[in-house]
């Protein structure tokens, strides 16, 4: 099948969208505001949905972030007349993966948009039917569940939950333990500690329980993340051994330098273990890898995504170490201790790329750059270095170069690129790196729509198969 220009454009557009859907979260970034991001994303979603509907739906099978997954579902459900074959299954499978609070938020968005078609009702009904404990949802996501039930006229499976939500005074007591605890918590302090943490927090404040006492007693009811968030106050030790890589990197970066230095072996061990888990079967298969990692001031992210780009870079550092046969890291600040990185100083990316290429020994098999794409000392030098290197020094592509960018650029509807000759992929979690490097190959412009479609079909098939299990 011969490639047409249309096909190439389509492939490019979809890759564009995947990059955006992986990185953009509609939150403030270092250089762009939340409003700019939302505006930019809204356009992108609409554009891709209208022009490439099947591919748009297929993106649900990729590692797009939850924010965009919810947006895609919303956009698909809003336009039922154009729906394709597998859409319903894709949506259901993705909703099952999303955290429940996001799904309830999505239902509320559907309500605001006045979307109440048959397919939507079926999907919401199935999702609610699959919830393990609707009583828990009624307590924890009360407003969300109430809004969904009311908007879609769904009968709740049992009378108790229905009464709890819509007629709380009808019953003197509930048979469901959580619902009853919620009722008692209004006047009984002991019942507070039977509730989920987020709900209990409000009751504890109302009863005037001191924070320390509350945290200590509620500890068994906390989720892993809640424990992590409050551990500084509660003195509850976080379990580092099961944390995903990027989360762990964020945790490490939030610690003060002295603590990082003092717990060096423990933290490094945990990071290495998480990286080994993420690398899985690929561990040690990537050959010689040189990495350029951005720890400039802009990697501090924003107030809502604090140090996220730096955490991604740190996660990538340990993951690449696990993937590579031999590995060298080059931080933009010139630092050599990954555990003590901090967002600081300018971004002399061009010179660091040269450092990475010039490292002693034979040329690396892979060059991985993790950066937000802003190269300012001097601007554009990284692009020039990569271009000249590609065209004159390594035209046979002995070294595969890839740029991973954790930051969405709302002006460009994409992540910022360094050079056209180096493929760029958006990255949100370091552990997605192997999959992203695969996708980035498409971005180089050497493969067309047919390959991309085949790749997406394969991913969709895998995704649906996993969902069935």
């Amino acid at each position: 099948m011969s490639e047409t220009v249309t096909d190439l454009v389509a492939a490019e557009d979809v890759l564009f969208f995947v990059n955006a859907a992986v990185t953009a979260t509609g939150q403030r970034e270092f250089r762009s505001s939340a409003a700019e991001q939302r505006l930019s994303l809204a356009f992108l979603h609409e554009y891709v949905r209208v022009n490439y509907r099947p591919l748009y739906a297929a993106c649900l099978a990729l590692d797009v972030n939850d924010h965009n997954a919810a947006l895609i579902v919303e956009h698909l459900l809003r336009t039922p007349h154009e729906a394709g074959a597998e859409e319903g299954r894709l949506i259901a499978a993705r909703l099952a993966l999303l955290p429940p609070q996001r799904v309830y938020r999505l239902f509320r968005a559907l309500r605001a948009a006045k979307v109440n078609n048959r397919r939507t009702r079926a999907i919401v009904r199935d999702w609610l039917a699959a919830r393990p404990d609707l009583g828990l949802d009624a307590v924890k996501y009360r407003a969300g569940l109430k809004a969904a039930a009311r908007h879609l006229h769904l009968p709740l499976p049992d009378d108790e939950t229905g009464d709890f939500l819509f007629a709380p005074r009808r019953r003197a007591r509930y048979d469901h333990a959580l619902l009853d605890a919620h009722r008692r918590a209004h006047h009984d302090q002991r019942a507070v500690y039977e509730l989920p943490f987020t709900v209990a927090e409000g009751f504890a404040a109302r009863h005037g329980v001191p924070r320390g006492v509350f945290l200590e007693r509620i500890a068994p009811r906390m989720t892993r993340l809640e424990r992590l968030r409050t551990q500084r106050h509660a003195g509850v030790a976080a379990d580092l051994s099961t944390m995903p890589l990027t989360r762990l990197a964020l945790y490490v970066l939030a610690l003060p330098f002295e603590e990082r230095a003092a717990r060096r072996t423990e933290l490094t061990g945990a990071l290495r273990a998480a990286a080994a888990r993420a690398a899985g079967p690929y561990a040690g298969t990537w050959g010689r890898v040189a990495a350029v990692l951005d720890d400039s001031y802009s990697s501090s992210g924003s107030g809502v995504k604090r140090r996220r780009p730096l955490a991604v870079a740190l996660g990538c550092h340990f993951l690449l170490e696990a993937l590579a046969g031999s590995y060298s890291a080059h931080w933009t600040s010139g630092g050599t201790d990954p555990l003590l990185v901090r967002p600081h100083g300018p971004t002399p990316l061009g010179l660091r790329v040269l450092d990475a290429l010039e490292a002693p020994g034979p040329a690396p098999d892979r060059l991985v750059i993790v950066s937000d794409g802003w190269d300012n000392a001097p601007p554009g030098l990284a692009g020039e270095v990569l271009r000249v290197w590609r065209t004159h020094l390594d035209p046979e592509r002995r070294t595969a170069a890839v740029h991973l960018n954790p930051v969405y650029d709302p002006d460009g509807f994409d992540v910022r690129r360094l050079a056209p000759s180096v493929p760029t992929a958006g990255v949100r979690d370091a552990e997605d790196l192997p999959a992203l490097v695969e996708i980035a190959q498409f971005a180089e412009g050497r493969t067309g729509l047919a390959e991309l479609r085949a790749y997406l079909d394969r991913r969709v098939e895998l995704f649906l198969k996993e969902a069935v299990r």
Binding site: P346, N376, P378, E384, V388
Partner: protein, 388 residues
């Protein structure tokens, strides 16, 4: 000394945000023996009750404390935050800041090696006080008010940094270089301000204060109406510089940085660095001098800056802060200078300026000094010249 000497400060590649270009200045080694701190005035409200129910409140975002005790950030540690005074409850007879540059004293009354001054106030004071006394010779054309009270009121409009569009954002996303001791700030590629401090740690602390400082109306207008400026992106030529090895490529990359520095000093900052200024010493501390400078008020497009600086014993700049004058302000300064040169004699000044008496009167009026002229006398003189 006639010019600003920025020896020891190297230019690093600019960072661009919208219409604002920020050029970092980096020192290889900090200036020994001098530190600058930021002093935050926490005392609430220098409010003065005017009497009719209105209150006059002054706002001083921060002051600088020059510390040459050699103790580094000793007792006078720098602090964050500044505030606008709350409700004025008391009426101070005299504000606590009665002198512009003031030696700090310890509790015991002993003078400490620290000097407190307000950023840019020395410079502005120097500009505003320009021939403040009014005519030195009482010619008949000058009104009685001019002779008695001089140029009054002394006032100039300036804009706070946060009201200059895009500046706050540009300063926020700016990535400070290691060793950075200064910054040149361009708005729509016109030099708006230069800021240099002795030590990188001082700079890191004082960087946010740039958004609280004052900028001339020209800067504000340029920021408002100017388009985003282009980045001077690096270019490596394939034929000549690219070469065949990584070492060649590195040489070409480093050359890019050098080219930029040379281009910046010769082209963008030329007017600041090559103009000769009139310096006036305000204070001397061991080996260091606190000076303020005025430009030659030359008309014809060149940038004119007023400012203040601290130099070390070799005349190199340890501290520098400039304020870009607008075309109107230059014109006013120019006119005052020429008048002073010719003893405030209107006829001789007009001759020296190569214009007519009538033109000069119009220029004085347009510059806002019209009330200083004795209208009757000027009208009489004009009639005479017409007859004559």
């Amino acid at each position: 000394m006639t010019g600003i000497d920025l020896t020891g400060l190297e230019v690093r590649p600019a960072q661009v945000w919208g219409g604002v270009r920020l050029v970092p200045l980096v020192r290889a080694a900090p200036v020994a023996g001098l530190r600058l701190h930021r002093e935050v005035y926490a005392c609430s409200g220098h409010g003065v009750d005017v009497g009719d129910g209105t209150a006059y409140t002054s706002y001083i975002p921060h002051g600088f404390v020059a510390d040459w005790s050699g103790e580094g950030a000793g007792a006078e540690s720098a602090a964050y935050g500044s505030r606008l005074g709350g409700e004025p409850r008391t009426v101070p007879v005299r504000g606590p800041h009665h002198r512009l540059a003031k030696r700090q004293r310890a509790k015991s009354g002993r003078a400490e090696p620290r000097l407190r001054f307000l950023p840019l106030h020395l410079a502005l004071e120097g500009y505003l006080a320009l021939h403040f006394g009014g005519p030195s010779t009482v010619w008949e054309e000058w009104s009685r008010e001019a002779v008695r009270q001089g140029l009054s009121p002394r006032a100039e409009a300036a804009y706070a940094g946060w009201s200059v569009p895009g500046l706050g954002e540009a300063l926020r996303v700016f990535e400070i270089h290691p060793g950075q001791c200064g910054l040149m700030l361009y708005v729509a590629d016109a030099l708006a301000a230069a800021f240099v401090v002795p030590h990188p740690d001082d700079y890191r602390l004082l960087h946010p204060t740039l958004v609280e400082d004052l900028y001339g109306e020209l800067v504000h207008q340029y920021a408002h109406y100017g388009a985003p400026v282009p980045e001077f992106t690096a270019r490596i030529r394939d034929a000549a510089g690219g070469g065949r090895t990584l070492a060649d490529l590195r040489a070409a990359a480093v050359a890019q940085e050098r080219d930029w520095a040379a281009g910046h000093d010769g082209l963008m900052a030329r007017d600041l660095l090559e103009t000769s200024y009139a310096f006036e010493r305000v204070y001397r501390m061991d080996g260091f001098e606190l000076l303020r400078f005025l430009p030659p008020f030359r008309r014809g497009g060149t940038e004119q800056h007023i400012g203040e600086l601290i130099t070390d014993h070799k005349g190199r700049t340890a501290y520098l802060k400039t304020f870009r004058l607008s075309e109107n302000q230059i014109r006013r300064g120019h006119l005052l200078q020429r008048l002073a040169d010719h003893d405030w004699h209107l006829g001789r000044t007009a001759e020296a300026l190569g214009t007519s008496y009538r033109e000069l009167v119009l220029r004085i009026q347009r510059a806002g000094f019209g009330s200083l002229l004795n209208a009757h006398e000027v009208a009489r003189r004009l009639r005479e010249t017409k007859e004559g």
